[in-house]
């Protein structure tokens, strides 16, 4: 990007500048307020919350609600804390994201560089798959999972998310590879590389930006999914989102708000982390190919 002064399209005076920044600061605070409430309340004993000091900083700082949410809180019927469900989510997300990204890349490669009759139709159908509402497939999917013997298991969830993810990842990679010069593939063919060799050695290593976009997108969607998790998982294969719901909405005993807040933050942390680590590639990847440079 060019120097600061050159990019400024509209010249503004100090007064206007002050107003704009005040406005932005207010909005910033407004958006950060929930996070503040969650953080502070997750770090105070329950008695302080019940005393009515929602907005106050903890007077007695404690990690106890976090520890409880992680390992001892009552989830459904068992006092296991969220940790086993966190693990379930990881076991579900990692293979689902990895597989859907690689398969999407493979699809994109075939649809752009090994074109066949009706390839645009195939692509259209895959795209169509992206826009089918989740609720519509619940019953047929349950039937298929049952037939495959994957009902109520983590691999079953991986399968469901994989099927849903391929549409989007194919869309990303197809559009990215459409810009990729076909002469490169031809050169590799003359050099003696086969279908998969070209994919692994030439296409994939050049797909960094779009892979990041795809991974962030899939990770966020799959991690945050509630419906499939609630529909297709058993007690021991539930993902984090469902467990969090069970923690928060349990109808017995005292509502431990501090534990709930700690659990909610835990459930949100991985996606936050992915954004922080890979976020700068996200915008770059989305913009890739749109501007020459």
């Amino acid at each position: 990007m060019a120097g600061g002064a050159a990019t400024q399209v509209i010249r503004t005076g100090h007064g206007t500048r002050f107003l704009i920044y005040t406005f932005l600061a207010i909005f910033c605070l407004y958006y950060l307020l929930p996070l503040y409430v969650m953080l502070t309340n997750s770090l105070k004993p329950l008695s302080e919350i019940q005393a009515g000091g929602m907005m106050a900083l903890p007077s007695d700082w404690t990690w106890a609600p976090w520890a409880s949410a992680w390992s001892t809180a009552q989830i459904g019927v068992q006092p296991t804390g969220l940790s086993p469900y966190f693990l379930n989510s990881i076991l579900m997300v990692v293979p689902a994201v990895a597989l859907s990204t690689v398969l999407g890349a493979l699809n994109g490669y075939v649809l752009t560089k090994w074109r066949f009759r009706f390839d645009t139709l195939v692509f259209g159908l895959l795209l169509f798959g992206c826009f089918i509402p989740f609720q519509m497939v619940l019953i047929p999917m349950a039937r298929i999972l049952g037939l495959m013997g994957l009902a109520g298991t983590v691999p079953g969830l991986v399968f469901v998310h994989l099927v849903y993810g391929i549409g989007f990842s194919t869309l990303y990679f197809r559009n990215y590879y459409a810009q990729f010069p076909t002469e490169l593939v031809r050169a590799a063919m003359i050099d003696g590389a086969g279908f998969f060799r070209i994919f692994w050695r030439i296409m994939l290593p050049s797909s960094g930006p779009i892979a990041v976009v795809c991974i962030i997108w899939q990770f966020t969607n799959i991690w945050n999914d509630f419906l499939f998790g609630a529909s297709f998982a058993d007690f021991d294969s539930q993902p984090m989102t469902v467990a969090l719901n069970n923690l928060v909405s349990s109808s017995t005993g005292v509502k431990e708000y501090n534990v709930h807040f700690a659990g909610a933050i835990m459930a949100a942390l991985p996606t936050l982390l992915v954004y922080v680590v890979a976020g700068r590639y996200f915008v770059r990847g989305l913009m890739a190919g749109s501007v020459k440079g």
């Binding site: 010069p181 002469e183 490169l184 031809r186 050169a187 590799a188 063919m189 003359i190 050099d191 003696g192 590389a193 060799r197 050695r201 030439i202 290593p205 050049s206």
Partner: protein, 369 residues
């Protein structure tokens, strides 16, 4: 048997025939240039030799072995692409050795081969750079290096110079020619630039509309074009083509044509070949350098004849001056030395070298003499 044989080859996409029956034989060490305007089928023919496109009918053979069903990697060819097609994720050395690796050559031998070719092309300092860090000319060298290192039977070049700026293009052209002399490799080279075709080739195939219009040495193509398309396409400025009528006077054939002032120009043909066409309407083809002033005319020619005509435009181009007049209601351009005193609007005796003149049939556009 020729080294590379293209026998009766055609290419169709559905019902559209983009390349009609084509026969070309190339001997080992030849430099064949396929030249023609875009859409003439030259790249299609090259891709078929490479195996990137299927042959609809006919046969392509290298060293006597039929190649139609052989995969590109097994044909022992190497190709240099218009966009260079360097793998962006690999450095120069990896780019060059990729093909060797795919063919199972052990690493020490690969490194030796790459070092050798890099030395030849003077790209040794670039070996660990990525293609993105190279200039256009350097990329071009690397692309050639990648082809050379394979030591193939046939090199295929697909408009390799068209992405370079004018000066670099001339330099690389010389370099390719030197390389061909040095290594004696067999090359098939596609271009739309007729100057590239003339300077590089040992033989040229001029293509148009899916047909090979003429196959011959640069000299044959230039001096004896098979038809009006070849005459107009090759050479810059292109050959002057104007209507004339053959007449026989005192037993010698000559071409008659109208001049702008109402008079008639008469140019006797060299030799008696055209006498058989007495009275026939023809299109006369004369290169600009064969129309000049009396002092600048070719002294070795025995058929310099003058035509007085009015000068319409002069275009000084530094080394030459192009002079335009009207022969047979058509503008013709003569190439004069720069210092000749020619005045626009004045009558000037144009000296025409009829040894270099050719005549075409206006109907079939084929050369008749």
């Amino acid at each position: 048997m020729a080294f590379l044989d293209i026998k009766n080859v055609t290419k169709s996409y559905g019902s559209v025939k983009v390349l009609h029956e084509t026969d070309i034989s190339i001997e080992e060490g030849e430099f064949l240039v396929l030249v023609g305007p875009s859409g003439c089928g030259k790249s299609t023919l090259l891709n078929m030799i490479a195996g990137l496109e299927e042959v609809t009918s006919g046969e392509i053979a290298i060293r006597g072995a039929r190649m139609n069903e052989v995969r590109p990697s097994q044909r022992n060819i190497a190709m240099v692409f218009q966009s260079y097609a360097l793998y962006p994720n690999m450095n120069v050395a990896q780019n060059m050795s990729f093909g060797l690796e795919m063919h199972g050559m052990p690493k020490p031998e690969r490194e030796k081969a790459v070092a050798q070719v890099a030395d030849l092309l003077q790209i040794s300092p670039l070996l660990d750079r990525k293609p993105g860090q190279l200039s256009g000319g350097q990329r071009q060298r690397v692309a050639m290096g990648r082809a050379l290192v394979r030591d193939p039977d046939v090199f295929l070049f697909d408009e390799p110079l068209s992405n370079l700026d004018a000066k670099l293009r001339v330099d690389m052209r010389t370099e390719i020619k030197k390389l061909h002399h040095k290594l004696g490799t067999t090359i098939v080279y596609v271009t739309h630039d007729q100057i590239e075709a003339m300077t590089l080739s040992t033989r040229i195939a001029v293509m148009y509309g899916g047909y090979v219009q003429q196959l011959g040495t640069p000299g044959e193509i230039y001096d004896k074009p098979a038809n009006m398309f070849v005459a107009g396409f090759m050479g810059s400025p292109s050959m002057n083509l104007f209507p004339a009528k053959v007449a026989v006077e005192n037993g010698a054939p000559l071409a008659q044509f109208a001049l702008a002032d109402g008079g008639a120009g008469k140019l006797p043909f060299a030799g008696n070949g055209m006498a058989a066409h007495d009275g026939r309407e023809v299109v006369l083809g004369i290169r600009p350098e064969a129309i000049t002033d009396a002092d600048g005319a070719d002294r070795k020619s025995h058929a310099i004849h003058t035509v007085e005509a009015q000068v319409e435009v002069t275009e000084p181009a530094g080394s030459d001056t192009f002079v335009v007049a009207q022969f047979g209601d058509t503008e013709v351009t003569g190439r004069f030395r720069a210092d000749v005193d020619v005045k626009v609007g004045a009558r000037f005796p144009f000296a025409v070298n009829m040894e270099k003149a050719v005549a075409f049939d206006p109907e079939t556009e084929e050369r008749i003499g």
